[in-house]
């Protein structure tokens, strides 16, 4: 179904998109990251945003959380226009989100327990034993039970990402934003993270937005894949639709083949088929 911008602007009823970016423009130092970007994310689905490094995937997540402001355009969360909200007014919006940062961004001045408990202590008046229970529960969910007293510098890259996920889950968010969750990890650890994302989706029914350039991860966790290039969407569909997409730019990215051109795609495809047959 093709949705017009008018449809998108009208608001969010049940089953409608929870996050909407309308005609968003953003530039850094004269470099246009987004040009009239229109994108929506549906509730309870996992949408993967793909694209080469520097295309603005992380910027998009920060725009959604209000950490950055668009130069033009509007951003809606569940029908509320958050574009011009102050830091204070953004707090209730941000409490509905959990974000897993690319480098985990754990607070290195706090141990794992306090990292996970941070938002609970900041926003909820809970008894200490209740905080402790939630911290243990969230750490167990990411298979890191017993690590409460460790410090961030004592954790491996994969453990940091999982603690980052536990921290994001602490407030039981409706939406989880993942910024390059598998980047820099070995394939097995990366797959563990993918399983965690699927587990959150399955058990918590959260809406997930994953930005990555890891195609294996995208195919595994994504219900829908959106591909960005030069500030615009060049493909949007299910994993199968993206695989079958005829656009050379999409195929170049999907196959990880920098040499693939519009003309050579057929030949290359045939060669691959021949190789498989052999």
């Amino acid at each position: 179904m093709i949705r017009t911008q008018g449809d998108i602007a009208r608001g969010s009823a049940a089953g409608e998109p929870i996050i909407r970016l309308l005609n968003v423009w953003k530039e850094f130092g004269g470099n246009e990251v987004f040009q009239d970007l229109v994108l929506e994310f549906r509730r309870s689905a996992t949408t993967v945003v793909l694209g080469p490094s520097g295309v603005g995937k992380s910027v998009m997540l920060k725009l959604i959380l209000g950490l950055l402001k668009p130069d033009q355009g509007r951003i809606f969360i569940d029908g509320t226009d958050i574009t011009d909200l102050s830091e204070r007014d953004l707090v209730p919006i941000r409490m509905r989100f959990g974000m897993v940062f690319q480098g985990a961004a754990l607070f290195d001045f706090l141990p794992v327990r306090e990292n996970v408990a941070f938002a609970l202590r900041e926003h909820k008046r809970l008894r200490e034993d209740e905080v402790e229970r939630i911290v243990r529960e969230k750490l167990a969910m990411v298979d890191l039970a017993g690590t409460e007293n460790l410090w961030p510098e004592e954790l491996s890259g994969g453990m940091k990402k999982r603690v980052g996920l536990a921290r994001a889950l602490a407030m039981d968010p409706e939406v989880i934003l993942y910024d390059e969750p598998t980047t820099g990890l070995d394939p097995v650890t990366a797959d563990t993270i993918n399983e965690m994302i699927l587990k959150c989706q399955r058990e918590l029914k959260t809406t997930s937005v994953v930005v990555t350039h890891d195609m294996a991860s995208a195919y595994k966790v994504g219900d829908r894949l959106v591909m960005l290039e030069e500030g615009r969407i060049i493909a949007d569909g299910t994993p199968e639709e993206i695989r079958a997409n005829g656009d050379a730019r999409v195929q170049r990215f999907v196959r990880g083949d920098a040499m693939l051109s519009e003309d050579s795609r057929g030949t290359k495809g045939q060669r691959d088929e021949g190789t498989k047959g052999a």
């Binding site: 690319q102 480098g103 754990l106």
Partner: protein, 271 residues
């Protein structure tokens, strides 16, 4: 058109400086708003008190000791030449408690604490920890700047007192080694130094502490990406804090001399 280009560059520089001052003013106002409306959490404050107070102590003590010793070594021969070697105690001790103790302790802390604060917060910005705080609905100024400001503001008077004490001791030891009469040395010092001198020196240091904390945290928050960006933030924090200490020192001295004159009727406003 080199003249036009020069004027444009100067204009741009001035505009940037004014804009920077505006940002710093907003940053400072936000810090004071959180300071007044939401007391800091002890679990965040204790490590900062330790970092600023305890870890800086050795450097401050060494600075104070050598300042006192050098002053004694320099002044002894001047006073000896007029047959009044024991008067050197008055000069050494007044210089230490009124000026050199607070200013040099402040300068050492600008380098040590200021540089560390800017580098730490700069690294937190580069590693997205500041974004993570905001994403969790927390205010980075409240959580990161307020505890560091309180710690620096509270600890610097104690460090200044240590610096003064060790400076006085170092000066005396050198004077004693030259054979200066101990009784006369301390008697002349006690005649000249007033409680006001000690108070004004310690009071000044609190302003230095506030300036170091605010400038360094602001520079850290404004750090650019990468190791170079963090390094530059630390460097700018030290240089700006150093200049701020010198400028503040001058105006606070004028102010305190005016206050002294008003209360006790001493004539003269300048140093």
């Amino acid at each position: 058109m080199p003249i036009r280009r020069t004027i444009a560059n100067v204009g741009r520089y001035v505009a940037d400086q004014v804009e920077g001052l505006g940002h710093f003013s907003v940053f400072t106002a936000q810090m004071f708003r959180w300071l007044v409306t939401d007391a800091t959490r002890w679990r965040l404050l204790w490590p900062q008190l330790y970092q600023v107070g305890v870890r800086s102590l050795p450097v401050v003590v060494i600075t104070g000791a050598f300042v006192g010793m050098v002053l004694a070594a320099q002044s002894y021969y001047q006073f000896e030449a007029i047959g009044r070697a024991s008067w050197s105690g008055a000069v050494i001790n007044v210089s230490v408690v009124k000026e050199l103790g607070p200013v040099l302790a402040g300068v050492m802390l600008a380098g040590m604490v200021g540089g560390a604060l800017a580098a730490e917060l700069g690294t937190m910005k580069v590693t997205e920890q500041i974004d993570a705080l905001r994403a969790l609905g927390a205010d980075p100024i409240k959580h990161l700047v307020v505890p560091r400001f309180i710690a620096t503001f509270l600890m610097i008077p104690f460090l200044t007192v240590y610096c003064d004490f060790v400076g006085i001791l170092g000066g005396y030891l050198v004077a004693w080694s030259y054979g200066v009469d101990t009784h006369e040395y301390w008697m002349h010092s006690a005649d000249v130094i007033e409680n006001w001198d000690i108070f004004s020196g310690v009071l000044k240091s609190t302003f230095f502490g506030a300036a170091i904390a605010l400038i360094s945290c602001y520079k850290g928050f404004g750090s650019r990406q990468g190791a170079y960006g963090v390094g530059m933030a630390a460097l700018e924090a030290f240089v700006s804090s150093f200049v701020a200490i010198l400028v503040l020192d001058f105006f606070i001295v004028l102010l305190l001399n005016g206050v002294y004159d008003l209360v006790w009727g001493r004539v003269g406003v300048f140093l």
